[in-house]
Symmetry: C2
Subunit: 345 residues, 2 copies
């Protein structure tokens, strides 16, 4: 078989604000790959089926000398994210042709991924008839983030009140459902009326559009907060501190409000951390996986398949459109978990 | 015996910024008390020996309708704080004439204090020849704050690095000594060269005057921080977040940098809480007392008496000068634990 084109999304330029398709990332078709003869060196050749576009990826679009919790993308190389693929050739006994794999994949049609460490690809079998792409969202990393963080830090009691910012996203909507299952009153915020409706559809008792309604007013009326699940940081976090109950637990999962600006945020209620004995728990999903992953797979895929837990996917077709998908998750234009379909199964 | 003058420090006006003696508080000598006949209603009559002036008291100088973790002072009534007194008359079997008591006392020469609850006065015996006023500082609430918070949250390992802001105060200097005992490298900040020297005298490896040296620069050079003991909040907290190690523990004890202003602070590194998996623990000493008080009294007074643990007291003589003492602890003019001596023993 002759070499085939291997389309790739290349990291082209470090953005100063939002990532821009065609500038921050460029879709490149100049490379080919010989699927039969490309050397594997004991690894596996993967055909990419679906890729995840996540808010945190903005953190990787930075200069190579700035440290953070994930390595920076490299200019001239494909970007990477969680992905789903199929094994098309293998020199490793743990992988057979036709196996589904999930893990961090290059944004390319074909790749030889890392198979070691917490981000290396692993074989998985979609259960209960779930389509593979769900293992990027409702049964994948965002849902794991929600499940692990909630189990580890929420210390929730029935009747308590939780506020979930970014409530319509794949992490937030899972948190809402976990909290309702445990008998909490759930307040959720989102950035459009359609998203607010989705928060209600998955069980939020109070949901509001933070762009048209004052977060402070809602929290003052509906609080105090025993738990705050923070996906956004910034002034929303400040409002949550102002309306926290004594001994509140704040689960610090993300800070999308600050990813695209370096200006900082005026915070007026930091002193409430000590005054109200608030605990703030920063965490990354990868650190909690050893403790909670088994229970996650026992519980969540079944609930997704049965319809007990709801989800929403927002599909972008074609790797050539992935740059736009990356921008959408930064501005909140997506409705549900953003998945880039690269190839049909 | 004829009634005697009962000088009192009255809360006169809610301050907008720093408390001002003669305005925020007024020393009043218009009341007398009949020490032999004042009705006790089952309580005790106390002669005040010493009173504490603490930064947190600014939080109580607020409008009566604003909630916080301690009740507001009441206009026209004496302010109150931790104090040491001697029983001069008792109708309660738990108190005998001549007993020393400690607890929350009115700023008055004589009072009938609350004897119930966590803030009620209790009988104590100064041990190892310690002078009673030390039970307001090095063997009292500030040292308990340091001891309880450190034991509960520091999770310190030898060789780790801790940063202590407000290192020369009665809380900070105790934290430095606890951290050195456990084999940590200690960085401490303070607001004058004299205070910096005291931080070094009690064991800090690195101590600096934050008014003349950049906190960011020092932390960048001497960090990363595994533990941060936060007495000040604000931009110092932001600098600590920027220089935190992954999984750092931040013990949120106070926020004096923000007590006298409502403007808020620009924070640029809040997103590091999740990115570096930082845990922030807000706490109040009263909540941790049931767990750690016994160990505190077994360990600390002995170390104070032997000289193993060092302390500094800054004495103000006379209740009529207490208003000035309250201002000094807000501006950091005091050198060591500020104690107001009301009457000699």
């Amino acid at each position: 078989m002759a070499p085939v084109t291997n389309g790739r999304l290349i990291f082209n330029k470090i953005p100063t604000g939002l990532p821009e398709p065609g500038k921050t990332t460029v879709y490149d078709t100049s490379k080919t790959i010989d699927l039969e003869n490309e050397p594997l060196n004991g690894g596996v050749l993967i055909k990419t089926l679906a890729l995840s576009a996540d808010p945190y990826m903005r953190v990787r679009m930075r200069p190579a000398d700035v440290e953070s919790y994930m390595p920076p993308f490299i200019i001239g190389q494909p970007i990477a994210s969680g992905g789903i693929g199929k094994v098309i050739r293998s020199e490793h006994e743990g992988f057979k042709v036709g196996d589904y794999v999930s893990g961090v994949l290059d944004h390319a049609h074909y790749s030889i991924p890392n198979i070691d460490g917490p981000f290396g690809v692993k074989v998985f079998k979609p259960e209960f008839g779930l389509k593979p792409s769900l293992y990027l969202g409702a049964a994948g990393m965002p849902a794991q983030t929600a499940f692990y963080g909630w189990k580890e830090y929420a210390d929730a009691k029935p009747g308590e009140t939780v506020f979930v910012s970014g409530g319509a996203g794949p992490v937030g909507s899972m948190v809402i459902q976990l909290a309702k299952e445990e008998g909490l009153k759930v307040i959720a915020s989102a950035g459009s009326d359609e998203k607010v409706q989705f928060c209600k559809d998955v069980g939020a008792d109070v949901a509001f559009n933070y762009k048209t309604v004052s977060t402070e007013d809602i929290l003052k009326k509906e609080g105090p907060l025993h738990v705050y699940w923070d996906n956004v940081g910034g002034t929303t976090l400040d409002a949550a501190l102002e309306n926290a109950a004594t001994n509140a637990r704040f689960i610090e999962c993300g800070a999308i409000s600050t990813y695209n600006s370096k200006d900082g945020v005026v915070m007026k209620n930091i002193d409430q951390i000590y005054a109200r004995c608030i605990k703030l728990y920063g965490f990354l999903v990868v650190h909690l996986a050893p403790k909670w992953q088994k229970e996650f797979y026992e519980v969540i895929p079944k609930k997704i398949a049965s319809g007990d837990f709801k989800y929403k996917e927002d599909i972008t077709r074609g790797l050539e459109n992935a740059g736009e998908a990356l921008r959408e998750v930064q501005t909140g234009k997506n409705h549900g978990k953003k998945v880039i379909i690269v190839s049909d199964d």
